[in-house]
């Protein structure tokens, strides 16, 4: 059987599973639709959260990002996991105790204000829409790369599948498909990593293989060898720090706070039966996420080692030290076709030279070898995961599985985001402002329609991505960190912060973060409109725009406390509400709709 046919069968099989789950997990009430009836087992919710959280970018691009960034990628690894500690201790159990359906609903009740609720809806929709555009793109890319259909067809296929289970099942359908999707994606991610780790070091556990000795006879440690290969070809040492400590620190912090403030993640913890389940479930979510996130550094380092060893077959500078182009392996040819790898014979010797020609000292030395520049003019970072099974000569079914895994990662995150958006629209805007008197059945219908509309809007945005699509992830995290996280945390840990303080804080957080990003990236990301130059020398206090979320959050806190201290304290019943959410007792009865 051909690879193409195997891929279609494996991917088709996973789709059949998702649809079957959708049919079994239909939503019968608004509680089913918004929070899966609050009946999800904490371990299963942990799995669903992991799939919700890990997007196409985590699955396809992260290992490549690490491979080329080396140590500095720790900002992403720690930032995207450390936020769960904040979530477990500062938000999840208390918001679960509160026991309602959406994040803006808590903000509206705690700050006794429709205004605050609507500002929260605005923050939520801005950050979820920006995030979902990237996922829609991810779905299109995953389909087009793996199934060789065009981008739009792939996107429509993905939308169709999400449509079936999200509209039918709401949170309930999404939860159970996410559990299945987690199993597919983690299996697809770890199997090639185990094989490659074993081939390189004899250790089948990727997390240990990365710290092991190589079996190539050199008896060197993998990381030491990789450092040497990198330095020999003019690159920086793999384990060395390249960014400033300040920026790594700030980016890590912003990503942590942003992670804890992303509404599509927070609402997952509304689905468990009890407060204590919410605490443990966050732990399980991080277990399942960490399985991938601790494997990714191993995949990145091993793939980079393999890539460089494939090209530099002998000593640097010797005439036969570089791979002849005609001898290139079949995976190289395959990925050249997709444009992810590109070679240009600059010195016409028919051999491939891959080195850092931006390193002036090394470039000079390379001239002495007769090298005329780096000939690997394009090495897309996604190649590190996509080509891995082929580099390791794994069977077709593993390659097909990677395809199914990438698609699962993209679908699960998109569905989670779409639910956060549609429930905010139907529950926080329609039901609470415009159509107060609709009954539960009508609200369920409204939420299904909102979901259908959200899918179409997201699909349209995926097909016609605004120019800023590449910047949006930084924006989503920045907005979640600067607006949503602080206001939720203050709502739980302070009885003094009041309506005026919360609204002023949220607007300051969002406003300052948007302003700072726009100043360097252009107004609404329109090219050429940026008043300031986007590089290290010109950043205010050396703050990278993608790390500004932490500063925005700080401003939010300061303004909220200042305004609250100058205005009237929250009324008695709100202070009682805060007292009440701080203890688990009575969570079952807190649900009233």
């Amino acid at each position: 059987m051909t690879l193409q046919a195997t891929t279609y069968i494996v991917v088709g099989l996973t789709f059949a599973i998702y649809i079957a789950i959708a049919v079994m997990a239909r939503a019968k009430s608004t509680s089913d639709f918004y929070v899966a009836g609050k009946g999800v087992h904490p371990v299963l919710n942990g799995m669903a959260t992991a799939a919700d959280w890990m997007s196409a970018a985590s699955f396809i691009s992260m290992a490549g990002l690490i491979a080329f960034m080396g140590y500095d990628a720790c900002a992403y690894l720690m930032g995207w996991t450390g936020g769960y500690v904040l979530l477990a201790m500062m938000l999840a159990p208390y918001l679960r105790k509160f026991g309602k359906f959406t994040v803006p609903e808590f903000i509206g009740d705690r700050y006794y204000s429709h205004g605050a609720r609507l500002v929260a809806v605005l923050c939520l929709i801005t950050c979820s829409i920006t995030y979902v555009i990237g996922q829609m793109k991810g779905i299109g890319v995953a389909f087009s790369r793996f199934l060789e259909v065009d981008f739009a067809t792939g996107l429509f296929c993905g939308m169709g599948i999400v449509f079936v289970y999200a509209v039918l099942g709401g949170m309930k359908g999404i939860t159970y498909t996410q559990i299945a999707q987690y199993c597919v994606l983690i299996f697809a991610y770890t199997v090639p990593a185990i094989f490659i780790g074993f081939q390189l070091t004899g250790n089948p556990i990727p997390q240990l293989a990365l710290g092991s000795t190589l079996t190539d006879g050199s008896s060197m440690h993998l990381l030491a060898k990789l450092n040497k290969i990198c330095v020999d070809l003019g690159f920086a040492e793999y384990t060395a720090q390249k960014w400033s400590t300040w920026n790594i620190f700030l980016l890590t912090f912003s990503l942590m706070v942003g992670t804890a403030g992303l509404p599509h993640v927070i609402i997952r913890f509304f689905t468990v039966p009890k407060v204590r389940d919410a605490r443990f479930s966050t732990g399980w979510a991080l277990v399942f996420i960490s399985i991938l996130y601790t494997t990714a550094p191993a995949v990145g380092a091993m793939a980079r080692t393999n890539l460089m060893n494939t090209i530099q077959i002998g000593p640097v500078g010797s005439p036969t030290g570089n791979l002849a182009y005609v001898d290139r392996p079949s995976w190289f040819t395959n990925w050249e076709k997709t444009g992810l790898l590109k070679w240009e014979d600059k010195n016409h010797d028919g051999r491939i030279q891959y080195y850092n020609d931006k390193n002036a000292a090394f470039a000079k030395k390379a001239e002495g070898f007769g090298w005329k520049g780096n000939e690997m003019v394009k090495v897309d970072r996604d190649i590190m995961v996509l080509a891995n099974p082929e580099i390791a000569n794994l069977p077709f079914w593993v390659i097909a599985l990677v395809a199914a895994g990438g698609i699962a990662a993209a679908l699960s995150t998109a569905a989670g985001l779409l639910l956060a958006i549609s429930s905010a629209v139907s529950h926080d805007v329609l039901k609470s402002v415009f159509m107060k008197h609709i009954d539960e059945k009508q609200e369920l219908l409204a939420s299904r329609i909102a979901m259908a509309v959200a899918i179409c809007v997201a699909g349209w945005l995926g097909l016609n991505p605004p120019g800023f699509a590449a910047q949006v992830v930084a924006l989503a995290f920045g907005l979640a960190a600067s607006s949503i996280f602080p206001v939720l945390m203050m709502g739980i840990f302070s009885k003094k912060v009041n309506r005026a303080g919360a609204i002023a804080g949220m607007l300051t957080g969002i406003g300052s973060t948007l302003l700072y990003i726009f100043l360097y990236k252009g107004w609404f990301f329109i090219k050429g409109t940026a008043p300031l130059i986007d590089n290290h020398a010109h950043w205010f206090l050396g703050i990278n725009p993608q790390s500004f979320g932490a500063v925005g959050a700080l401003l939010n806190f300061v303004v909220a406390f200042a305004v609250s201290s100058m205005t009237e304290p929250p009324p008695e019943h709100i202070q009682a509400l805060v007292e009440d959410i701080r203890v688990p007792k009575g969570a079952g009865t807190a649900v009233s709709h």
């Binding site: 092991s212 990381l223 204590r276 732990g283």
Partner: protein, 83 residues
């Protein structure tokens, strides 16, 4: 101090303790002290690099379960468990 206030105080103390560890392993060992720690080796891993790309994540997981377990105990002790 009422029992409710004591429960909240113990919760805050536990949370702050956990967050100090959270800060030390990630921002401390993984970022601020990564240079000096990299001269120590854990197998083939420079220690600072290990904390930054592996160890801090393991500690995060342990911290959450430690917190959740201790809070379950407190819930029982102060009789604020869910029925």
């Amino acid at each position: 101090m009422t029992s409710g206030e004591l429960y909240w105080k113990k919760n805050l103390r536990l949370m702050i303790g956990c967050l100090i560890v959270w800060f030390i392993v990630s921002f401390g060992f993984g970022i601020l002290l990564v240079g000096p720690l990299n001269s120590i080796f854990l197998g083939g891993y420079p220690l600072g690099f290990w904390f930054a790309q592996q160890g801090s994540m393991y500690v995060f997981v342990i911290l959450i379960f430690f917190y959740a377990n201790t809070m379950t105990k407190y819930d029982r002790e102060f009789d604020v468990e869910e029925e």
